[in-house]
């Protein structure tokens, strides 16, 4: 799962975030007031313009103070009634159709069907809900202005802020109901789609015996269902497991006349991870800030070379006997980058080792096989063997000898020369527990809800001064710039610093030229005068985009669907931060909308 940064604690995050928010908001307000003054100054001269703007701001603030919940609610109800009149419920039918088609074309035999279904359902829900509220919000106010029904409203003691807020509230309410219905239906669909069991035929089972020849259990395999089967191991007491395949396993129980295989476990999970910090050793065993980037996947994932001392080292802290009395439930996702094909159906072999960060004492190496795309579990028991200086081993207690003040190092090394392991900090973790999948799914829907709120507020804000279709384009533009805000920020940094490696290929004009001349983006331009002019022009073009990128919302960053699909519990801190961010945007957009509407001649 993509986790670019560590999730900060909400309490630590909110302070600086609030300061940044107020600063950006203040700056935007000052700019808006300046723009208003400029336009007024053209018509009325600088002094009168100053007076007008000043009085406008005062009147706007007085309006805010006079906001009445009853009026807001009346307008929100009206917005809901309007939505119903526009037949928004049709979208539920569309969603139903999508589910129907999804049932056909999504492959339940895929590598990780849980991931596939949840990802699809969340994406569809997100898209539909946001599209509906976008259409509702951008066309409502312009239609009201065009039909002049707004004149009967604004000649009542209605504050423009109430009109804006009422609309946001009303459409958000519609969006919320749609989201709730789609979310529930989607959940039922996912659960139904991925749940399955297998059979186990007697001829597929072989008894296992101990040294004396007595039967102590059985091994074998399940039937092939949904494109996969499991290896079955049954213990002496008649219970066992169908081992992990396709990201899940089943419990096996003896029943009359054979064995019964239970429901799939681990498909729809909400893991709670305890994560460590990651550092690397390079191929010569020296500490390196980074591993070797092989240029594929995401930049944040670093690669270590097999058959060398290169290692990825996580340092965990907070490990205690109380938290993990039986041992450490280490889980890992290890990506592979092959420089030669090898045997493609086999995983790449490597080891995991524990090390005491203080004494340097090491455990024996646990062999692992990197299976890409699925989470491997490695349970580290309380008693582990440690390496002695003479090459022998000694069994010690995990907490007594290896864990120091709750800290422990976990080393990952790849054994196969010429192959690489790719890991990121988030890829190794101790599973501290499991959240409920339903709750996690609901939290994922909450992320969609945040996005829906922002789209609504943005749409209503633009509709206060733009015609419907234009307001829609403007909203989409903001969302788009927000979506690429990280890229725009890096591109701008690359332009300004001249560090070509941050974003190769340059800004908009340079890219166009490169496309026209079919030039590779990996080759930087010589500093000819022409190149410098183009680069300077690009920087000028990018500056406002950079500014916009720093204040526009990013809906994808608000989305937490990735957590749900990857099977991780969404951290409360992240959710709280997203909630605060959403609130901030909605408040800012509502305020901007209120002032724009107030400054507008509603009847001309």
């Amino acid at each position: 799962m993509v986790l670019e940064e560590e999730i900060p604690r909400f309490a630590a995050w909110i302070g600086p975030a609030l300061v940044r928010y107020l600063f950006a908001g203040g700056l935007a307000a000052v700019c808006a007031a300046g723009a208003a003054w400029l336009t007024q100054a053209i018509a009325h001269g600088p002094l009168a313009a100053g007076d007008r703007v000043y009085r406008g701001i005062l009147a706007g603030l007085a309006d805010l103070a006079g906001t009445s919940p009853r009026r807001v609610w009346a307008l929100a109800r009206l917005a809901v009634q309007e939505s119903l009149r526009r037949n928004v419920l049709v979208v539920l039918g569309v969603f139903g159709l999508i589910l129907l088609f999804a049932g056909w074309f999504l492959d339940p035999a895929s590598v990780d069907p849980g991931k596939l279904y949840i990802g699809f359902i969340l994406a569809a829900t997100n898209f539909l809900v946001c599209a509906v509220v976008l259409l509702l919000s951008v066309f409502s106010l312009p239609a009201d202005i065009k039909s002049r029904t707004i004149q009967t409203v604004t000649t009542k003691p209605v504050r423009t802020g109430e009109i804006v807020l009422g609309r946001i509230l009303g459409f958000a309410l519609v969006g919320t109901v749609l989201l709730a219905i789609m979310g529930a239906a989607g959940w039922a669909f996912v659960v139904r789609s991925v749940s399955h069991t297998h059979g186990v035929a007697p001829e597929d089972l072989l008894d296992t015996t101990d040294e004396s020849g007595a039967t102590v259990g059985a091994t074998g395999r399940t039937s092939l269902d949904r494109g996969h089967r499991h290896r079955v191991v049954i213990g002496p007491d008649g219970t066992g497991v169908a081992e992990t395949a396709q990201g899940h396993r089943h419990r096996v129980r003896r029943v009359e006349g054979g064995y019964e295989i239970g429901a799939a476990e681990g498909l729809l999970e909400a893991r709670r991870p305890l994560r460590g910090t990651l550092r690397f050793l390079d191929r010569d065993g020296r500490p390196s800030a980074k591993g070797i980037s092989v240029g594929s996947e995401w930049a944040y994932r670093q690669y270590i070379e097999g058959g060398t001392p290169a290692a990825a080292i996580w340092t965990f802290s907070g490990l205690s006997e109380r938290a993990f009395p039986d041992g450490l439930p280490l889980e890992m996702i290890v990506r592979v980058f092959r420089t030669h094909k090898g045997r493609i159906e086999d995983g790449i072999h490597g080891t995991v080792q524990l090390r005491n960060p203080d004494s340097g004492q090491r455990s024996e190496a646990f062999p692992i096989v990197a299976r890409e795309f699925s989470i491997d579990e490695l349970f580290i028991p309380r008693r582990v063997g440690t390496m002695l200086a003479d090459g022998g081993t000694r069994e010690v207690d995990l907490y007594e000898e290896l864990v120091a003040d709750g800290r422990l190092e976990v080393w990952l090394q790849c054994l196969e020369p010429g192959q690489y392991y790719g890991v990121a900090q988030a890829d190794f973790f101790m599973r501290t527990g499991n959240g409920s999948f339903v709750v996690n799914y609901a939290k994922g829907c909450l992320g969609i809800w945040f996005a829906m709120l922002i789209v609504t507020a943005l749409g209503v804000m633009f509709s206060t001064f733009l015609a419907g279709p234009v307001a829609m384009l403007a909203t989409l533009a903001v969302i788009l710039v927000g979506q690429f805000r990280g890229f725009i920020a890096r591109l701008f940094e690359s332009q300004v610093t001249g560090d070509f490696s941050i974003v190769p290929g340059g800004g908009p004009i340079e890219s166009l030229v490169r496309i026209a001349t079919q030039e590779s983006i990996t080759v930087d331009w010589d500093p000819t005068p022409a190149a410098q002019v183009i680069k300077a022009a690009d920087t000028v073009l990018l500056a406002p985009m950079r500014l916009a990128a720093s204040i526009f919302p990013s809906l994808s960053e608000l989305g937490t669907g990735d957590f749900v699909t990857a099977g991780f519990a969404i951290p409360g801190d992240l959710l709280a931060a997203h909630a605060a961010e959403t609130l901030g945007f909605v408040v800012a957009f509502a305020l901007a909308g209120a002032f724009c509407l107030k400054a507008r001649e509603i009847a001309s």
């Binding site: 009346a74 309007e82 002049r148 009967t152 604004t154 000649t155």
Partner: protein, 318 residues
């Protein structure tokens, strides 16, 4: 109506508090690029006092609706200012005490009569009981009791107008602005509307109305202003404006026809009992046509005093 009676309104004549005041109020509509499209209102000075029924007259496109919209803050003045209840017209708080019936009733067609009044009642922050009470009362008053559960999209023009009036009165306003209140109403509706306006005045409300139906205006208005192409052409008390100053009318009852010559003689010396003497009235229609014709013949000037046979002072009313 008693033509020669005392002042028709209890207030006026420079007394009473000013509810609406415009100073040099003008409006030029501009297009998106700021180019001027239309001078809809040339600098206008008006004062309207509590308890008055004030009529705005003028041909189509003369700026009546524009004036009302300026007073309501729906559009902003190009220059000058409009004060309503002493504060600027763009201040929303004044709307608490205002009722407005737009030119056409701009209402949400998907609501029924009750929902409509309930909605606008909420916008006045009225508590539920009061909303229900006022809504029922007004629906009864405008004669829509039987149709109160029907969506407005099904309403006829006159019915829409009626619910529009009810909507304008939901807050029991002190100042009522009616843009062509009788348009679309049947004769009975028109009569009721006029009664309603007079009744509002009797309850101390102030009414500003635009209308093309001069007979209606003549019947109810205390004062009128006539606009022509955005310019004020005539302003004054209806009775003053309609008085023909250079003609004297004598009416008497119970006199034999033979006495006429004698009465003339007697009248010349001393007044007889039961004799009514005054100026006859023209109709507002005649006045209106004259003002407009005069304005077209001599643009840029206030209507000539001669039009009304002297008595010029009454036009400088207020």
């Amino acid at each position: 109506m008693n033509v020669s009676g005392p002042s028709r309104s209890g207030v006026g004549d420079g007394r009473g508090d000013v509810i609406v005041e415009t100073r040099n109020l003008s409006k030029t509509y501009r297009d998106f690029w700021g180019r001027r499209k239309k001078v809809a209102l040339k600098p206008l000075d008006l004062e309207i006092r509590r308890g008055e029924i004030f009529g705005l007259l003028g041909p189509n496109g003369s700026g009546k609706t524009t004036t009302l919209k300026l007073l309501l803050g729906l559009i902003f003045p190009t220059s000058g200012e409009a004060l309503v209840f002493g504060s600027e017209a763009t201040d929303v708080r004044k709307n608490e005490r205002i009722g407005y019936l737009p030119e056409e009733s701009y209402l949400y067609k998907f609501l029924d009569a009750e929902e409509t009044l309930d909605f606008y009642g909420r916008l006045f922050d009225m508590p539920p009981d009061e909303r229900r009470r006022r809504a029922l009362m007004l629906i009864e008053m405008v004669g829509l009791a039987r149709d109160r559960k029907r969506q407005l999209r099904e309403y006829s023009k006159g019915m829409t107008r009626r619910i529009g009036v009810a909507q304008a009165l939901i807050n029991d306003p002190e100042l009522v602005m009616l843009d062509e209140p009788t348009s679309g109403l049947d004769p009975i509706g028109t009569r009721e509307m006029k009664d309603l306006i007079v009744d509002l005045k009797a309850r101390g409300k102030t009414v500003i109305m635009c209308s093309h139906l001069l007979a209606d205006v003549e019947d109810v208005c205390d004062r009128i202003a006539v606009l022509h192409q955005g310019e004020l052409k005539e302003l004054g008390r209806v009775e003053d404006l309609l008085r023909v100053g250079d003609v004297t009318q004598i009416r008497a009852r119970g006199l034999p026809p033979a006495a006429e010559a004698e009465i003339r003689e007697v009248l010349a010396r001393h007044g007889g009992t039961g004799v009514e003497i005054g100026n006859p009235k023209t109709t507002l229609e005649d006045l209106f046509l004259e003002v407009v014709r005069d304005a077209e013949a001599r643009p840029g000037r206030r209507a000539a005093a001669s039009l009304r046979g002297g008595d010029d002072h009454s036009t400088r009313a207020g």
